[in-house]
């Protein structure tokens, strides 16, 4: 029980030395782990597999988004691998579920950065989580193609952030133009209470006023609520000509069913955002109110995408090759993915990144990142290529290239935004996406406050 003080001191010293050794070992191990971490993009070891990570909601109210991007990722990386890979590397997709919550997204991305070897590219990063994960990814020098339309990214420089979709306020203006074109004057707004949906509301209110239309109801849908009967009653009582809406998950389909019930079995025309161009959204909405009635009453803005031609053929071939093989993407009409913004534009983003690596002869992000804009926007004398395989062949032949994929040509601004031009989409009763019209830049400017 009692020991000599000197012996105790010796034991303490031994313990201290042991603890010091353990700490030193742990630090060495941590340093080793850090040095092998790919998140700084210092270049992958030869023949190792490069990772494209789909950072998006796979659960929660926006759970439909992650699988759309994963279909695109799997299709794109398969096509890249079939063409020989990138500089001798195969490419693989991985998914990280953000649950659509900033608080869940941060640890998910932290774990992705800490544990993923050869992470070359992040795709996804929707408005749900972009505000929390973009600064972190940017700090870790990870190139990302994001699906957020939040205006905070319009004029803030994140050198590793790229966006091939328009800012949300432009979508709000596009929805207003659709309402004008269809002759609607009394508009109801029904947007979810998530960050991504709420960003549409103020621009929509301003654009509707500028266009001389009237907002007769403006309801916010709590995405965690299970029914929206009272909100539906308010909308029906306001007798709108059309409803502008984005409330993903179960909210919109539930709202539509309740509106139909309260409106004597008739739907009120709906104008959705490009996020509504998804097989999951169509399937749920068609089940809620009937496919024919939904298709007859629904329009959405969407970016112009190719519907034919070599870029479209390569894209659809890549996606059809993974039909039925991607978890969570078995719902609905698969052809909807051919126009789903997340599938089209992220496919282009991945091809741009892959071709940039080939052009730079390196997987070191510092070397290949500058090539994204060069290949996307093109340089004088560049030959146009419409797929990774074409681009690879042209680069091997020593040519300069300009990649134009199914999402159309890019034109990156200093903030790495490349907003496209809008079209008006509808659904057929079978869930196929149909182009119902276009929106010119002048029409968009006319409603811009």
């Amino acid at each position: 029980m009692f020991e000599h003080p000197g012996r105790t001191a010796n034991r303490t010293a031994r313990r201290l030395r042991a603890v010091s050794a353990l700490v030193a070992l742990s630090m060495a191990a941590a340093l080793a782990a850090c040095s092998s971490s790919p998140s700084t993009g210092a270049g992958a070891s030869s023949h190792s597999t490069l990772i494209f990570a789909d950072v998006a909601p796979f659960s929660g109210v926006d759970a439909a988004l992650g699988p759309i991007y994963l279909v695109s990722c799997t299709g794109a990386t398969n096509a890249i691998n079939a063409a020989g890979g990138i500089l001798g590397h195969k490419v693989a997709c991985m998914s990280k579920d953000t649950r659509g919550e900033p608080a869940d997204a941060l640890p998910a991305v932290g774990s992705l950065l800490a544990n993923t070897k050869n992470l070359e590219l992040v795709i996804g990063c929707t408005s749900d989580e972009a505000a929390s994960v973009v600064p972190l990814l940017n700090q870790k020098k990870t190139v990302m193609f994001c699906m957020t339309g939040q205006s905070e990214f319009d004029h803030v420089k994140y050198p590793y952030f790229y966006r091939l979709v328009p800012p949300d306020l432009a979508e709000s203006y596009a929805m207003t133009v659709i309402a004008q074109k269809l002759g609607y004057s009394k508009i109801a707004l029904a947007f979810g209470n998530d960050i991504g949906s709420q960003t549409f509301v103020q621009p929509a209110l301003a654009a509707i006023a500028k266009a001389g239309l009237h907002v007769v109801a403006n309801v916010t849908l709590d995405l965690k609520a299970t029914t929206f009967r009272t909100e539906a009653a308010k909308i029906v009582a306001a007798h709108p000509d059309a409803i502008m809406t984005e409330a993903l998950g179960n909210a919109d389909p539930t709202l539509f069913a309740e509106i139909k019930q309260l409106n004597n079995g008739h739907m009120i025309p709906l104008i959705g955002t490009s996020a509504a161009i998804s097989p999951v959204f169509y399937t749920a909405s068609a089940k809620a109110v009937g496919a024919a009635q939904f298709a007859a009453n629904f329009h959405a803005d969407n970016l112009v995408t190719a519907t034919s031609g070599p870029a479209y053929d390569a894209f659809t071939k890549a996606l059809l090759a993974v039909k039925g093989k991607v978890s969570g993407a078995q719902t609905g009409n698969f052809t909807t993915y051919f126009t789903a913004p997340g599938a089209v534009h992220l496919y282009d983003g991945m091809n741009l990144a892959a071709l940039a690596m080939v052009a730079a002869h390196s997987t070191d992000v510092a070397k290949w990142k500058p090539w994204i804009a060069k290949i996307g926007d093109g340089v004088p004398g560049a030959v146009v290529v419409n797929s990774y395989a074409q681009g690879l062949a042209a680069l091997k032949a020593g040519k300069q290239i300009r990649y134009i994929g199914p999402g159309g040509p890019t034109s990156f601004d200093p903030y790495h935004d490349s907003p496209g031009i809008f079209q008006i989409d509808t659904y057929s009763p079978t869930g196929a996406v149909l182009v119902a019209g276009s929106i010119s830049a002048a029409e968009l400017r006319a409603v811009t406050p």
Partner: protein, 288 residues
């Protein structure tokens, strides 16, 4: 005025679904001494069981029967495989609450893993719309209200007029004394898990029918409403749970009609807090 009447109608629907769940939850809590936060997850399991039956081409009403059975079986298994071993080891009530929370997540994410995280719907029509004054209800919603009334009457009959009901009440009041009076408390508790589990499966299915599109996490917020209804009425009191469900259902929908719908749950919980401050034992609980 028409919006008020319409919102009362909507409140009645919410109350009808909530009443089935709240009565099951409060009976389970009173007799078994387990505040089972996995109750809503069992509801989800019931709803998805009905979905499987419905997808196989059978009527949703047959699916509802399957959900009853699934809820009962799952609840009995939860008791025997999870809660009873913890109770035997003398775990504190708060430990069981945490365990039940863990089971809720396991069940929910298990279902999500199998069925996917996206919303699904039953193949069924909502029937014709019935209008009376400002009330606007579909035939299916009227059927849900009828089911709820039948369940409430059944629970009343069970508790008042059957030996099992009296044994349940005795076990809830004082388990040791009930045993000393010859009541096989263990058996009563087992049956209670089955009965309340069946109510959970039933509640899950009518909940899913009512909301139209549901996913594995749809009952999360509903669990909070169940807790509110149960504690508003008086925990462990079946009649209190019925009354609590009516108050919560009506207050959420009527308040949504007149203030921003975002606040409808806030209003319900302010009412609950006010009640707990004035009368902690709830509306029908014994005065302390």
């Amino acid at each position: 005025m028409s919006l008020l009447l319409a919102s009362i109608g909507f409140g009645l629907i919410t109350s009808a679904v909530l009443a089935i769940a709240s009565v099951g939850f409060t009976l389970q809590f009173a007799v078994t001494d387990v505040l089972n936060l996995a109750f809503a997850a069992v509801m989800t399991a019931g709803a998805f069981t009905a979905y499987l039956v419905n997808q196989a081409g059978y009527s949703i009403w047959l699916g509802l029967v399957a959900a009853l059975v699934a809820g009962a079986v799952l609840s009995v298994l939860l008791n025997y495989l999870v809660y009873t071993p913890f109770q035997r080891r003398g775990s504190a009530p708060i430990t069981l609450v945490i365990v039940s929370l863990g089971m809720a997540l396991i069940i929910e994410f298990g279902i999500a893993g199998i069925a996917g995280g996206v919303g699904v719907s039953y193949r069924m029509g909502q029937g014709s719309t019935v209008k009376a004054g400002g009330l606007v209800l579909t035939t299916v919603q009227l059927v849900i209200i009828a089911i709820s009334l039948i369940v409430m009457a059944g629970v009343h009959a069970l508790l008042r007029y059957t030996k099992l009901g009296k044994a349940m009440r005795a076990t809830a009041a004082n388990r040791m004394l009930a045993r000393n009076c010859g009541i096989r408390a263990g058996r009563v508790i087992g049956i209670t898990w089955a009965v309340t589990g069946a109510l959970s499966g039933l509640a899950g299915t009518v909940f899913a029918i009512d909301i139209g599109t549901f996913d594995p996490t749809s009952t999360d917020i509903f669990l909070v409403l169940i807790l509110a209804a149960v504690f508003l009425g008086g925990p462990g009191n079946a009649y209190g749970a019925m009354l609590g469900a009516l108050v919560i259902g009506l207050s959420t929908e009527v308040s949504a009609a007149y203030i921003a719908a975002d606040y409808k749950y806030v209003i319900a919980f302010v009412a609950l807090l006010a009640m707990l401050a004035v009368r902690p034992s709830g509306l029908l609980g014994a005065r302390t």
